[in-house]
């Protein structure tokens, strides 16, 4: 197990290295940080000073080495906008994003299993068809639009929830719903088709020939075996939420998490802060991937521990 985790960490290191290479190339080769970050009125001297400050006047390979060095020490520079270390801002906002993801995806996970299983019981039946169409509608709805519709309904018309912002649980409801819906749609469709497939497997016939009651066959065998692909999808949902979907939801609801901060950083040309967010998320994704692999090893006996 230890060696396995170590190997995955190695792969994760490659991922972070890859991200830094992409960021470096984008920023220093294609982009012009000085132009983006300095005000238009900056003089040639100010520009030169800034370039010298962040090392833009040195040759590219040398820049890359010092860039990597900064990353290794988690030194992402000072946020231009907040006038404090970028990592401080990241750590301040990260919990809010995690709260949003937790609430949204938690809701999706809780609802997906029963809904999907219910649809799978009578494939082709009324509940099933409604579920499939509903699922397709769910994954066809742009998240930002869904958020705005919810705001119009619950905040503007019914006036029972706040439009946006951060505070008590009231403020979490709509963002979490918005976060949940597309994931819920994907999960329900997966659970449904997986349970239908499992119920057609030979081992389910064995279970029925054993005289097991229907609920024992469903919960003890079919649904239980659906958990592995379900966890795969749930893990992917967490990753893709972290990798960017929260940006959309947070900016609709002005939810002060990493995603909103990323957008604000872009609007304020605060590349250092943006860069810090990207790396934090990249490392987070690597860690989640490793966790998922470990979870598979624990729950799927067919995977051998290398």
């Amino acid at each position: 197990m230890g060696r396995f985790i170590l190997r995955r960490l190695g792969q994760g290191f490659l991922v972070v290295l890859g991200v830094s290479l992409v960021v470096f190339v984008a920023m220093r080769v294609f982009g012009d940080p000085a132009k983006v970050m300095l005000p238009l009125s900056a003089t040639a001297e100010q520009r030169a000073e800034f370039e010298h400050l962040i090392g833009l006047d040195r040759p590219l390979p040398e820049q890359f080495v010092s860039f990597i060095g900064d990353l290794a020490t988690l030194d992402f520079g000072e946020s231009l906008w907040q006038r404090r270390p970028a990592m401080d801002v990241v750590f301040e906002r990260l919990p809010n994003t995690l709260m949003l993801i937790g609430a949204g995806l938690g809701l999706a996970v809780l609802l997906a299993l029963p809904l999907g299983a219910l649809a799978a019981l009578r494939p082709g039946g009324f509940v099933d068809r409604v579920t499939v169409i509903g699922g397709l509608v769910g994954l066809s709805t742009p998240q930002f639009w869904l958020g705005l519709l919810l705001i119009m309904l619950f905040a503007v018309n019914l006036k029972i929830l706040p439009t946006s912002g951060f505070g008590g649980i009231k403020y979490l409801v709509l963002p979490a719903l918005t976060m949940a819906l597309p994931s819920l749609a994907r999960m329900v469709l997966l659970v449904r088709s997986q349970v239908i497939d499992e119920l057609n497997q030979q081992y389910v016939r064995t279970a029925r020939a054993k005289g097991l009651r229907f609920h024992q066959v469903l919960f003890g065998h079919a649904l239980r075996n659906t958990l592995i692909p379900f966890i795969t999808l749930a893990g992917w949902e967490v990753i893709s939420a972290l990798a960017g979907y929260t940006v959309v939801v947070e900016s609709v609801f002005a939810w002060p998490g990493l995603g909103l901060t990323a957008i604000q950083a872009i609007q304020r040309n605060d590349l250092f802060l943006l860069q810090a967010i990207v790396f934090t998320v990249a490392i987070g994704i690597v860690l989640i991937n490793i966790t998922l692999d470990v979870v598979y090893k624990l729950i799927d006996p067919r995977i051998r521990i290398a």
């Binding site: 016939r205 064995t206 029925r208 020939a209 005289g211 009651r213 065998h221 006996p301």
Partner: protein, 343 residues
Amino acid sequence: MNPTPDKPLLEIERLEVEFDTRRGVVRALRGVDLTMRRGETLAVVGESGSGKSVTAQAVMGLIDVPGRISGGDIRWKGHSLLTRSGARMARDLRGKEIAMVFQDPMTSLNPLMRVGRQISEVLCRHLNMTRADADLRTLELLEAVGIPAPPRRANQYPHELSGGMRQRVMIAMAIACEPELLIADEPTTALDVTIQAQVLELLAGLQQSLGLSVLLITHDLGVVAGLCDRVAVMYAGRIVETGLAEDVFERPAHPYTQGLIRSTPRLDDHMERLIAIEGAPPNMLAAPSGCAFRERCPISDARCEQQPKLEPSRAEGTVACWRASTNAWAAATEVEPGMLRAV
């Protein structure tokens, strides 16, 4: 239910099963009659598609959509399993009084559940055992089916066991509640030849020691010979011949049975070549009228356009053929040797 000794254990009467497919209705069983007595070993033989497995599945209540039982009856100790109350009763019978071993031990076990648990599950369901008691009994069962080191094996997953081992687990599962009838659907087809013999030996031994009745479904006549009292031959969704095993082997009455036996290799006979039955089984989408075998039968005549009834032919035997007990294939070889080919 009260066990009446004179009643047959299992009666299948004019059983019909249909499958809906995109291309039409497949009539898999077209009126199957079969009776099993207590303690007897009956083999159902026939080529794939003849309906032998479907018959077994119908008894186990495993026909699901797109299939359905469209006619006839299945009775267990005289009680129909297909009525509303019978179906309820059947749910408690299956796994307890009637158990089944499937063809493919690779896919028949839940890949994500320890094999021990898959056995003890049956015990908990039917004998109301506690988990701990069931676990202990599971070890005994594993021992009984010849699995070494039961405590270790019980904790393993199916993929950690060999094919023969898995089939032994399936058998342990089937005999867990000491059933009266064991249905074995091609239990050795998916196994290596050496393992096949072991598994058959195990089944024969259990049959003796537990007084099981066994319904053995197979296309392998060699398996039947040593193990079974009686044989039923199926063709195109019907029983075409039944009888005591030695009668059917020595003096097959139906042309199809004759052909089947001719095409099976035997060790005690010095036949120079094996001879296949020409042609293919009928398309069950458009079930043939009259005798289904007539297209391939060398002695068919005008009468064969009417379906012959399954009539008593000899002691404990029935046959459905207008010209039963004619040596059909001898004539054919003489008349048209080109129709036959060596296998």
